[in-house]
Symmetry: C2
């Protein structure tokens, strides 16, 4: 076997709710497209949690992640109550997945949207801010949470945003923060954006206070290209931006670290739709496309992306993006995957 | 003079940038409509700051606010740099203005919007969260900010939202927070929403995690009626919601405390437009309408609101909301005010 054809081991979690169906569809499509990968399946979430692994992740699963360094993850239901922490956040923090990259692209007229020309990539810092879980109840009446912004963390994410812009031929990086109020923390984020930005004279730079920036994003997304921001703002505005393209169901995301990376849809496990062959696998599939680029299989990534786009353009749509007049055929998860495979 | 006709003293600040023009227009309109008020003008901002009053507010201005308890404020430019704190935030905190009420209503087709049926009131907590200015640089590399959520503060804002809904015949109160991550602080906010909500069986209740809630707000604002949330989320989403109605330029806001209240447009001082008779006074005027209701002059409030709406419906528009085909006449600040006065 030549180096080129060597299969890359990746860790896969089928997740909960609609997870297994969309993962099955996604893997079928990328394998049919010739992905040179070797999936290694782990089970994470509630079951492991109930067995006493407080993170919801068993030691062998961590071992797999550390070895393959690439994780394709379907949505997982957060168990209710108790000391259970979001599994997503646990993986992001433990593995140092500092950048959360969420492309939000409109496919008008094939997917209905009020923003036909949207093409924005949210680059969200993924470890700091109020995501540290440092919270306490000081008295029965007073609770506090610590927001953290560090120089190394901020430098990393800002530099990532500029490098991403360069690699993908994007023209502008915009920074959102609120340094008229958080002068020290968001002030540091702003300052480092200005500092690091100087290393990228080829790329246009812009900053907005998050309130008016968000208003502009929602009104005129065409103003934006790559947008970088602290964790919590990015959490909110990436859901907003994905929905603006027509559906949170078609956005994938990449969680990038120095050595490990995790790829996932941005939507949740939708338990009420589970097991009915209804769910749109596009979010996870587009995350898998990001994964294929990440492991250097750009040829396969392009093949999958094009076949997916062709399927959408041919009007073969799952229920969530079905529209009278534009859609030609309402299909289930499996049939959608078959249609993409036909177009590879 | 009968009690009915007694004039209510109110404190007025003309502000910076476009402030003086839109305040002049606003006062002319409400006086012509028969507002029984006695404006007391104070000057706040950079000048007082440079004189050594670190808040930008002189003692006599504080004295006026404490006496009249009603403050109509035009936008003020935040002086650059140094230890200068947002004047807005200083007034809100010093006077205990715990509720920030921002009605976001579409006036389609007279004001262009992608959301013709929007009618959402954002009720934003206005003192706590990361607005305490409790921040520090721990090392050269690490900065932190303290987020505060208290039981009394949260009870007050949640109860205010429900009372507002009742008073204005609104059917539903929705709560946005992020308690899957901030389990203690946002968890308290959520818990108190559920507790206080039980006292209002006549009003529908709903909660959303802020990320997906914001996505739904931006996609389908018709789902929402009154929406209550912590300070920072409310800051971001009230700009977003106002912009969705067509322009941040037409939204007013009320900052309500136990004894004092402040009324302002939600937009800024737009220094580049200053002194040109261009600015739309609608945001401040609608804030003044909220003020008239607050001081019990509902008759005048209704007269002003109707004349303003008639002016907008007659297509008499300032540059910011002018649209070919719908607008009949492009007017300046003064002419817009004259047109409203003609329709009183
Ligand atoms: C599930 C939740 C903890 C997570 C987050 O807040 O980051 C999710 O909303 C996301 O954006 O991936
Ligand atoms: C000017 C700024 C401090 C203020 C805030 O953040 O509250 C403004 O954005 C607002 O919404 O009134």
């Amino acid at each position: 076997m030549t180096e080129e054809n060597k299969k890359v081991p990746i860790t896969v979690a089928y997740g909960d709710g609609i997870g297994p169906e969309i993962m099955d569809a996604t893997l079928r499509i990328i394998m049919a497209a010739g992905a040179r990968i070797e999936p290694e399946v782990i089970e994470i979430g509630e079951k492991a949690y109930l067995e006493g692994f407080s993170s919801g992740i068993r030691p062998e699963a961590w071992e797999s992640l550390r070895r393959t360094k690439v994780f394709l993850k379907a949505p997982i239901t957060t168990p209710q109550g108790g000391g259970y922490k979001s599994l997503n956040v646990t993986v992001r923090k433990t593995m140092g997945l500092f950048a959360n990259v969420r492309p939000c692209v409109s496919y008008y007229p094939f997917v209905k949207t009020k923003h036909p020309k949207m093409d924005v990539v949210i680059v969200r810092e993924n470890e700091e801010d109020t995501y540290g879980g440092i919270e306490h109840q000081q008295t029965t009446e007073v609770t506090q949470c610590l927001k953290l912004i560090t120089r190394p963390g901020t430098e990393k994410i800002i530099r990532y945003a500029f490098e991403y812009a360069r690699a993908y031929g994007r023209k502008k990086v915009t920074c959102f923060m609120k340094d008229n109020i958080m002068k020290i923390t968001d002030g540091l984020f702003h300052k480092i954006f200005d500092e690091v930005g100087q290393e990228y004279p080829d790329i246009e730079k812009e900053t907005w206070i998050i309130d008016i920036g968000a208003a502009k994003l929602v009104d005129t997304p065409e103003m934006f290209d790559v947008v970088v921001m602290p964790n919590l703002y990015g959490d909110i505005l990436s859901d907003v931006a994905a929905q603006m393209t027509g559906s949170v169901g078609i956005a994938g995301s990449a969680n990038i670290g120095e050595s490990v990376a995790m790829f996932e849809a941005i939507h949740g496990s939708a338990p009420r739709r589970a097991g009915q062959n209804l769910a749109n696998p596009s979010g996870l599939l587009l995350a898998a496309v990001q994964m294929l680029v990440h492991i250097g299989q750009n040829d396969v990534a392009t093949t999958v992306q094009n076949a997916w786009l062709k399927t959408i353009e041919d009007g073969i749509h799952t229920y969530d993006i079905y529209q009278e007049g534009i859609s030609k055929q309402k299909v289930g998860t499996r049939e959608f995957a078959d249609a993409v495979i036909q177009r590879l």
